[in-house]
Symmetry: C2
Subunit: 210 residues, 2 copies
């Protein structure tokens, strides 16, 4: 039987409520730590009853799992939106910039993905697969560089880990307010240094015009 | 008047109690967040009365300030213990390794220094000076590289920020358990990549041996 207009509207409404609940939970988590993740409190933030919240998430563990999956899905969509270029190094640099922009725009979700884990939380295998999908985007971009003969050494997986770590380092110091100024400049300098250190960058002379 | 043996013993005892109180506070902070930093609770952890705690720290704000200063003092002492070498790049790499070792050995204090700040905590000017002293060690090591003509470009201050960020990135991903394996290998690869990207590394042929 076809889905009725009423059911569709209800489903869209549910999606919007679900997103509001997840956003409220991630704000509470970032501001006050895991102790603040009480379902009653999250419902109050959004202005719905705990019944609605329990209808969407079985309990606190399911809510944290949903938060984790939501964080990685948003991150993956952002990275996937970066346009591929014929120059694989230029594409890689754009991926790095998209990473930073996303992290700064979604700080709470970013901390949930790559910050200290919530005590006792172990993502399900399915959630871990979705998390790994974001790393694969970076790893694939580095494989393209390797195929173009641009990788100086190391396996694409290890190179991806190093590059990720360096980018995460600038972004997390910036988010925590430890880089006093010129954050963008420090980010670009780090990206460039890692680029020079990991890849054989063709000299300008080799570039074809115009 | 000379300090009596009794006074000396009392002072040493006070120092030991103070260190125990700070270590307990940093453990609580890491495990449960700023909400756990109640003076009564810290005193209970160490097994002393809150009177002793209030004698040493005026209140919670003073305790957090003391924690912050203690973290940076320990970190500075560790970095200062790294032996200078005639090769400024080798010394710089050793500083990086000491940074990682210290962070992993003193995780709670590390988070306090370079993680997300405690809400509402603003270090005093004196504490900030002591924090900056650790950055100066790194910046001075890079100035030595610049003096030896090894710096590819950028000011020592900016280069120090980039290198710090990359090292912090590997260390914090490692501490949070996000690097699945080969942590040491990822660290060395990142250090090498940043070294190649930021400095003019003399080719092996130029080395005088042995």
């Amino acid at each position: 039987m076809a889905t009725s207009a009423y059911e569709l509207a209800q489903r869209q409404g549910d999606d919007a409520i679900r997103t509001s609940l997840l956003d409220a939970a991630s704000r509470l988590l970032a501001a006050e730590g895991p102790g603040a993740l009480a379902l009653r409190r999250i419902a109050a933030e959004v202005g719905c009853s705990t019944t609605v919240l329990y209808r969407m998430f079985e309990g606190k563990a399911a809510l944290i799992e949903a938060l984790y999956v939501e964080a990685f899905d948003r991150f993956r969509r952002r990275l996937e939106s970066v346009r591929k270029q014929s120059d694989p190094l230029a594409y890689l640099a754009d991926l790095g910039r998209a990473y930073r922009e996303h992290a700064l725009a979604e700080r709470n979700y970013y901390r949930l993905m790559f910050g200290e884990p919530i005590p006792g939380f172990q993502p399900s295998d399915e959630a871990l697969v979705r998390a790994a999908a974001t790393f694969t985007i970076l790893e694939d971009a580095i494989k393209d560089c390797a195929d173009a003969g641009l990788l100086s050494g190391g396996s694409p997986r290890h190179v991806a880990a190093s590059l990720w770590a360096a980018i995460h380092g600038v972004v997390s110091l910036e988010m925590a307010g430890h880089l006093p100024r010129d954050n963008g400049e420090v980010f670009e300098a780090t990206l460039l240094a890692m680029g020079k250190g990991l890849f054989t960058i063709p000299s300008t002379g080799e570039k074809r015009g115009p």
